[in-house]
């Protein structure tokens, strides 16, 4: 049927390396998400409550992250900053780029989340004698995180998928490693097919894990 002989053996031989690279993919995605959630919360609060240069900075961050391609952002952190003598390693390019992107998207979700928590919650906790910090960290933010739980899960999936762009800035995560092996053996289709399966499994595991966690977290 095909005028092509599939050779799966080289792929199977480098499967351990690919799986190890998949762990690197997960690591960078999880780190970027953790940083992105913290920065995203800060950006959302700034956009809701502040005026002046900070508001301007936060707004430009969110709009730039949401309105330009993720690949452009990676190129910018990778090559654009070189003009100022700032050279990041491939790992840092992907981490910084992903964090920038995730923080921008999450900030918009968080903003919706903050607006969905009634104002009275904050005022009630303040009138009970909580400081502003206590009121936010113990009353408001837990409710916000509950509202944006599914958007965060989606963003986590996006972060894993987006980390594949690392291939284009020389980062050897799952895609970069695949590219490396594929160009060494010319078994491009076979390698990328296996990588696609690995990505699919990772995404499904994340969704499954998120669903299991949700049943534990949201029992009440």
């Amino acid at each position: 049927m095909f005028d092509y002989n599939f050779h799966w053996r080289p792929v199977m031989k480098s499967l351990p390396d690919l799986l190890e690279a998949a762990l690197l993919t997960l690591q960078v995605a999880v780190l970027a998400m953790a940083l992105g959630i913290v920065i995203g919360l800060a950006l959302a609060l700034i956009r809701l409550h502040m005026r002046g240069p900070l508001l301007w900075l936060a707004s430009s961050w969110v709009e730039l992250a949401r309105n330009t391609p993720a690949l452009f952002q990676l190129f910018f952190f990778g090559f654009g900053l070189g003009a100022f003598g700032l050279h990041l390693s491939p790992y840092m390019i992907v981490l910084v780029g992903l964090t920038f992107n995730c923080a921008g998207y999450l900030a918009e979700n968080f903003r919706g989340g903050f607006q969905a928590v009634p104002d009275t919650q904050l005022r009630a906790s303040r009138s009970l004698g909580m400081t502003a910090w206590q009121a936010y960290t113990r009353i408001v933010i837990p409710q916000v995180l509950r509202i944006v739980y599914h958007p965060i899960t989606n963003q986590m999936v996006w972060a894993v998928l987006m980390s594949s762009l690392g291939m284009l800035v020389g980062f050897r995560e799952l895609s970069g490693e695949t590219q490396f092996f594929a160009s060494r053996t010319f078994r491009i289709f076979e390698y990328f097919a296996v990588t696609a399966v690995i990505y699919y499994v990772i995404v499904k595991l994340i969704l499954l894990g998120s669903r299991l966690l949700a049943t534990r977290l949201f029992r009440y």
Binding site: N67, T68, A70, A83, L161, S175, F189, F192, Y199
Partner: protein, 220 residues
């Protein structure tokens, strides 16, 4: 002695033209994929809605794959798979095929959401007024459900426009690839990336703002 041949030269007005042409190519491949993908996606969305378990067993998992594997892997995979089954697809054609299917996979979910947004009593009322099934779809479901999910569709379309930057891995010279070529030659990454970023931003930002404005107005 002065070198007679220089590999690097400054940024010239001619290069701006080169970038402009590349921007048009970005626009062209996006418009093509988004329009075909949307038509397909709406059809898939309708099948998902009407097909119940039959669709859940057939096309739903297939569409899910396109959402769970990084676009860049899909592109490389298809570009290398097409010759195996005897298709002679260049970078442009491969890019359009994958971007179209990717759009369709995303739009299918949006379209199903739109159909679900119209409650059953409304549709029964339409049918009991003597409308046929297709009249009900065309004159009741389309206007109401379409409005409900229009902002989501704009989000998908803008996402695909930004993701079209990934077709550069296949060697199609769209905006980001063109800027990469220029960066190598002129060694002025910051300037060139700013121009490319400004183009994406100028395209995406007004459209997303307009969609948000429409959403707000329709809710009232």
């Amino acid at each position: 002695m002065e070198p007679t041949v220089s590999f690097f030269s400054g940024f010239t007005p001619n290069d701006l033209l080169f970038l402009g042409e590349a921007a048009l190519r970005t626009l062209w491949i996006s418009v093509l994929s988004i329009s075909i993908g949307t038509v397909l996606g709406v059809a898939f969305g309708w099948i998902l809605f009407e097909g119940k378990w039959a669709a859940a067993l057939t096309i739903a998992p297939v569409l899910d794959i396109f959402r769970s594997v990084p676009l860049i892997i899909q592109l490389v995979l298809f570009y290398n798979f097409a010759p195996i089954i005897g298709l002679n697809f260049g970078p442009f054609a491969s890019g359009v095929v994958i971007l179209t299917v990717y759009t369709a996979a995303l739009v299918a979910n949006v379209a199903r959401g739109g159909i679900e947004a119209v409650d059953t009593p409304m549709r029964r009322a339409a049918r009991s007024l003597g409308m046929s099934y297709w009249q009900d779809l065309r004159h009741v479901v389309l206007p109401i459900g379409g409005r409900a999910v229009f902002p989501a569709w704009v989000g998908v379309a803008l996402g695909v426009m930004k993701d079209s930057a990934l077709v550069s891995v296949l060697g199609y010279v769209e905006l980001l690839k063109a800027s990469q070529i220029l960066m190598t030659r002129t060694q002025e990454p910051f300037l060139i990336l700013s121009i490319a970023g400004a183009f994406y931003f100028a395209l995406s930002y007004p459209i997303s703002r307009y969609a948000a404005f429409l959403e707000k107005r329709w809710i009232q």
